[in-house]
């Protein structure tokens, strides 16, 4: 099987290299053919692996490809761990990637960077696969940073736009803050486990559960808490959790296909995947789980609220992504890892769908992204309309749609959880349901219903997108409806993740939930009686009332909410703080150290000062060498006199 795994990873890399390095020599058609073929091979083989591991129940594969290096007796290896968790991720990543590749043919049709774009997204697929298939922390970090690199390249794809190149630098640096913690976490793992292999580390972890270390002298912290929180800082960067979320909304400067692929479906879920992968470690630290839970809850609620006031179609979806990532993180914190990963999967489908549908609208609107200038598009773009409706219903957790199962499972799991912060998290995710429904359908109604607010020229040219665009929409709509009902049984309450995800019995909220689980249909019926359903319905209803029935009210609310609106408009001030305090502060510190430390003190005072004092000293000494013979004779006599005096007395 190793060759299959290698092919899955290398096929997209091959495509990326051909389209990227040899782009000059091949046509646009060849570029997209080779990359799509690569990803298609990957996707087919991934499905085969999914069948092999999950359906046929084959033993997980854990093997080395090559030894990266040996240092100090520790082998750093590149290798694969293929179990149900990675098999599922591989299937999701390659499927969504394939859809995005096809969609790109239509979306980027007129772009001069066409081949470069295909090269990047194939490179991304390679990197993401390296990340999810890794069997050790080193390779995980490689994939982790490699997807960050491709994200950087793609956000800045239109490198002439000032906003795009601002956003990609910001994204990379904010991610680096996360990676900083992540790397320290990896260093801690190596120090205490003497290995970076998952298998070794997870096997030894229970023995380390009671170990404490002193990071600050005098204060004892549990080793597991320190490791898990450091690793989670990495997840906060990549999965855009507060306060490291600031890069994700700006990343919308990139072309829409990558917003779907990277900044919604796959890369941003790497943090979720990582924590689920590390469940044997996280289960040993209640404190760390509490931190994860609270951070996730804050993100789920407060980022959702920001979605309400956005007017850019992509930014609405971006904030909803932030909020949904918060939901996944909440699930992790509640030890319902399977629910988090399950939501990751359904979210990958419906969020990719929403982004691609938004992209379809953007093409139709000639790259207009402001939803206030849309309206009534339904009749011009029927396929986009219906697929977007499916995506939105899945997002708000409408009973029966994919998102319903995963989101309800998270809410129920948090309800049962006793992890510190669970009460707040339960409140946050419930309110979040209302907010999600509200902003999703606010956007939906503003875009597709109501009066047509676009200019006449745009309206004339408004038509449905070509099949390369609508095809992927339909293909993604299918799992957005059905994936939930199909997988909820095995994934959450069956043995799908047996051996891949570890939950300690006293925190096994999903096991608890499973006792009352009697198939997906009864889960739907049960959902109809829960608060989440009413909140979602209320959200849709309010959106309908405010934006279709009485469109005059929102303006009044906006006017009357004063300070609150200002806070939301400034996104709680995170960006201002980062720019005015952190970025400006760093530059100020740099200037201070340079001008005062290097230029004034070291060079000015010590180096050139030393040179000046040598000059001054020699200037003084020079007076001794007057060139007059009688001066020298006088000095000689004086010296002789002194010496004789010493000698005599």
């Amino acid at each position: 099987m190793q060759n299959v795994y290698l092919t899955i990873v290398l096929a997209p890399l091959f495509g990326a290299i051909i389209a990227g390095l040899f782009g000059h020599f091949i046509s646009r058609r060849a570029a997209h053919t080779v990359t799509i073929a690569g990803v298609a091979v990957s996707a087919i083989f991934s499905l085969y692996v999914f069948k092999h591991i999950v359906l046929d129940g084959a033993e997980p594969y854990n093997g080395t490809v090559y030894t990266w290096m040996v240092s100090d007796g520790i082998r750093f290896e590149v290798g694969f761990l293929i179990d149900s968790l990675s098999a599922m991720m591989m299937a999701v990543v390659t499927f969504v990637s394939l859809m995005v590749h096809i969609y790109t043919i239509g979306y980027m049709h007129d772009d001069p960077g066409y081949k470069r774009f295909f090269s990047y997204i194939s490179l991304f697929t390679f990197s993401m696969l390296m990340l999810v298939m890794s069997n050790n922390f080193m390779q995980l970090f490689f994939g982790w940073e490699a997807v960050g690199l491709v994200s950087y390249l793609l956000i800045g794809f239109w490198y002439k736009r000032p906003t795009a190149i601002f956003a990609n630098l910001k994204a990379f640096l904010v991610n680096r803050v996360g990676d900083f913690g992540f790397l320290l976490g990896i260093a801690a793992v190596l120090m205490y486990f003497n290995s970076l292999d998952y298998a070794d580390v997870f096997a030894a972890a229970p023995m380390m559960a009671d170990m404490t270390i002193e990071v600050i002298p005098g204060i004892e912290w549990s080793l597991m808490t320190v490791i898990c929180i450091l690793l989670f800082i990495g997840a906060m960067g990549k999965s855009a959790q507060v306060p490291l979320h600031v890069w994700l909304p700006d990343s919308m400067e990139g072309p829409t296909p990558i917003s779907a692929l990277i900044h919604a479906a796959t890369m941003v879920t790497a943090g979720i995947f990582m924590v689920a992968r590390m469940s044997p470690l996280y289960e040993l630290s209640t404190t760390a789980l509490g931190v994860v839970l609270v951070i996730g809850a804050i993100t789920a609620l407060f980022m959702g609220i920001l979605g309400i006031i956005q007017n850019d179609i992509k930014r609405v979806v971006a904030y909803s992504t932030l909020s949904q990532l918060g939901y996944m993180t909440v699930a992790l914190g509640a030890s319902a890892y399977a629910a988090g990963v399950f939501h990751l999967m359904t979210h990958a489908f419906f969020k990719a769908l929403l982004f691609l549908a938004a992209g379809s609208v953007i093409i139709g609107m000639h790259h207009e992204q402001d939803i206030r200038k849309m309206g009534g598009i339904k009749k011009y773009m029927p396929i986009t309309y219906w697929t977007m409706l499916i995506g939105s219903l899945a997002l708000i957790g409408f009973p029966g749609f994919a998102g319903f199962f995963s989101k309800d499972a998270i809410i129920e799991a948090v309800h049962l959880s006793h992890t510190p912060g669970a009460g707040f998290a339960y409140f946050a995710v419930l309110i979040g349901v209302f907010i999600t429904a509200f902003y999703s359908f606010r956007m939906f109604f503003l875009v597709f219903h109501g009066e047509e607010r676009m200019d006449a020229h745009t309206r004339e040219h408004l038509h449905e997108s070509p099949w390369v665009v609508t095809g992927p929409l339909i293909a993604l709509a299918v799992p957005s409806v059905f994936a939930g009902a199909i997988f909820i049984g095995p994934m959450l309450f069956g043995d799908f993740f047996e051996g891949a995800i570890f939950v300690s019995p006293e925190r096994d909220v999903l096991g608890h939930l499973g006792e009352h689980f009697h198939g997906w249909f009864s889960f739907v019926l049960h959902g109809l009686t829960g608060p989440a359903f009413y909140l979602a319905a209320a959200g849709v209803g309010s959106a309908w009332y405010l934006y279709l029935k009485r469109p005059d009210i929102p303006a009044v609310i906006k006017e009357r909410s004063g300070v609150l609106y200002t806070i939301l408009e400034h996104k709680y001030g995170f960006d201002d703080f980062n720019e005015k305090v952190i970025a400006a502060g760093s530059r100020g510190l740099g200037r201070l150290l340079w001008q005062v430390g290097d230029v004034k003190l070291i060079d000015g005072f010590i180096v050139n000062g030393a040179a000046r004092s040598v000059g001054w000293f020699s200037g003084v000494i020079r007076y001794l060498q007057t060139g007059f013979l009688y001066h020298y004779a006088f000095a000689m006599f004086l010296g002789l006199f002194v010496l004789i005096a010493i000698f005599v007395f």
């Binding site: 990266w68 240092s71 000032p162 640096l173 680096r176 900083f180 070291i602 060079d603 010590i606």
Partner: protein
């Protein structure tokens, strides 16, 4: 595994004699001939150095390819050459880099091109001599002789403030080395030998060790350079021609770091243990303080110069955390990773800083400005070049998959074992390094075409493509597969570590 041929002598003397030859034929009209001969000499030297790797026995810590002949018998000074797993890769780095430097100066240097090439060839031989010397006097001669061609290169082909820069460079480094000479002579009287390996086993009291350590520190810290004796480097880089900057950053800085491994640690292990806090503090200051300074530079060369200082902080950090690891964990495990990480960082920084300076050279040759503000949107006119530049920038920021990651990764892993906060401050480079490098990339390469100069830019030619492409391959190769590098140094580093674990008191 010794070869029939005196390989080390060949890598030392081939370029020196070749350089003299180039000087001889290059005066007057034979400019092309001088260039071709220079390239051939550089290629030949590189070819000669390859068997050093191939025939090297990585299972032995002994010096290999040893050549020993009496030189000045009255003072027991020998012509004594040999390499172990620490010095051998550095010789290969030198011979490799020189080929690129000769190519880089090909048509760019119009003023006295033969002399320019000759200076670099002679420098190459002398640097190889420093890395291969096993006799302290021989080492010292090569070490000091090296100053002359570099002094000449900056002084003749340098920028407008070249006189200030050369004097500063010369005085700084010369002043540092004088103290080294004194301590070498002191040890000669103790050991009655100038053999470095005899110094390793020489019994020395703590006071003597500390004085010797400080003397060495002055010599090596200036070369590395460590904070606060680093301010000559940005000036030297700014004034030096591209080739000078490349050699300076890629090889010359490594001489100081190499000195710590060959002299300070093994000769004065107890002093190293006593003063390791100082070394660690200075290293971390280099990483963090200098990182912030790099952030606000307006001159690309200065920025990369500061970035070099910051990266070299990882080298010295990796070398000197061994003792703290032992104190903290009660075992030397993890210390070797720090030292090896430091060496990997030296090699990798050779590629990356060389590539960065060559890239700046590409722009400077066209626009004659090093100011970041003079550029903007270079990608529009030089897309191939921009791709290289982004790759090297990412390597400079330590992206996994490039060689820049390997050394920093190893040092951070190792530093964590010594003390959480060492690793914490060292890892800040992940953020700061990315910030200064990518911010520069953003301002130079991205955006709309900023001015007419940028609009008129021509993308890199075949010669430049070959130079940057070769470096790109090296950077990627050692990022994806660093094992060949680690394999040759493992035993030597282990031996060094066993040696310094033994107190001399």
């Amino acid at each position: 595994m010794s070869s029939e041929l005196p390989l080390l002598s060949l890598v030392v003397w081939t370029p020196i004699i070749g350089g003299l030859l180039v000087l001889a034929i290059g005066s007057g009209k034979h400019v092309l001939e001088a260039r071709v001969v220079s390239l051939l000499v550089a290629l030949l030297t590189f070819a000669i150095s390859i068997p050093l790797y191939v025939q090297f026995d990585p299972t032995s810590f002994q010096m290999q390819f040893v050549e020993l002949h009496p030189w000045i018998e009255r003072f027991n000074i020998h012509y004594h050459l040999g390499v172990d797993g620490i010095s051998m890769p550095l010789i290969l780095l030198t011979t490799f880099t020189t080929v690129l430097v000769v190519l880089a100066g090909w048509e760019v240097i119009q003023y006295k091109p033969a002399q320019y090439m000759a200076a670099f060839l002679i420098m190459e031989g002398l640097m190889n001599g420093v890395f291969a010397a096993l006799d302290a006097m021989l080492f010292y001669v090569f070490w000091e002789a090296l100053l002359i061609p570099m002094f000449v290169v900056i002084g003749i082909w340098g920028g407008p403030r070249r006189v200030y820069a050369t004097i500063k460079f010369f005085l700084y480094t010369f002043l540092g080395s004088v103290f080294m000479l004194v301590s070498l002579i002191y040890m000669y009287f103790q050991a009655d030998s100038f053999a470095i390996l005899d110094f390793h086993t020489l019994k020395l009291g703590l006071t003597a060790q500390i004085l010797i350590f400080i003397a060495f520190l002055l010599a090596f810290a200036v070369k590395v350079p460590m904070w606060p004796v680093h301010t000559w480097l940005p000036d030297a880089h700014v004034e030096a021609p591209t080739g000078g900057s490349v050699i300076l950053a890629a090889i010359m800085l490594k001489l100081g770091a190499y000195g710590f491994l060959r002299f300070s640690l093994p000769i004065t292990p107890d002093a190293s243990r006593e003063l390791d806090w100082l070394m660690i503090a200075l290293s971390l200051i280099a990483v963090v303080y200098i990182g912030f300074v790099a952030l606000v530079q307006k001159d690309m060369k200065k920025l990369v110069a500061y970035s070099s200082i910051s990266h070299m902080g990882f080298v010295t950090l990796g070398f000197f955390i061994a003792f703290t690891i032992f104190e903290n964990t009660g075992s030397w495990k993890g210390a070797a990773m720090g030292i090896e990480g430091g060496i990997v960082q030296m090699i990798s920084h050779g590629f990356i800083s060389g590539a960065m300076f060559l890239s700046i050279g590409v722009l400077y040759d066209r626009v004659h400005s090093r100011e970041i503000a003079a550029y903007g949107g270079v990608t529009n006119t030089m897309p191939t070049f921009a791709a290289f530049a982004v790759l090297f920038a990412m390597a400079n920021a330590g992206l996994p998959g490039t060689s820049g990651f390997v050394g920093e990764f190893m040092v951070i892993l190792s530093a964590f074992k010594a003390n959480f906060w060492f690793a914490f401050f060292a890892a800040l480079t992940l953020i700061i390094g990315a910030a200064y490098t990518l911010w520069m990339v953003k301002r130079v390469f991205f955006g709309e075409v900023a001015n007419d100069n940028v609009a008129k830019l021509k993308d890199i030619n075949a010669r430049e493509f070959i130079i940057l492409g070769t470096l790109a391959v090296a950077v990627l190769f050692f990022g994806i597969y660093p094992a060949p590098l680690l394999d040759v140094m493992g035993v030597s580093v282990q031996h060094l570590l066993e040696h310094i674990a033994q107190s001399k008191l």
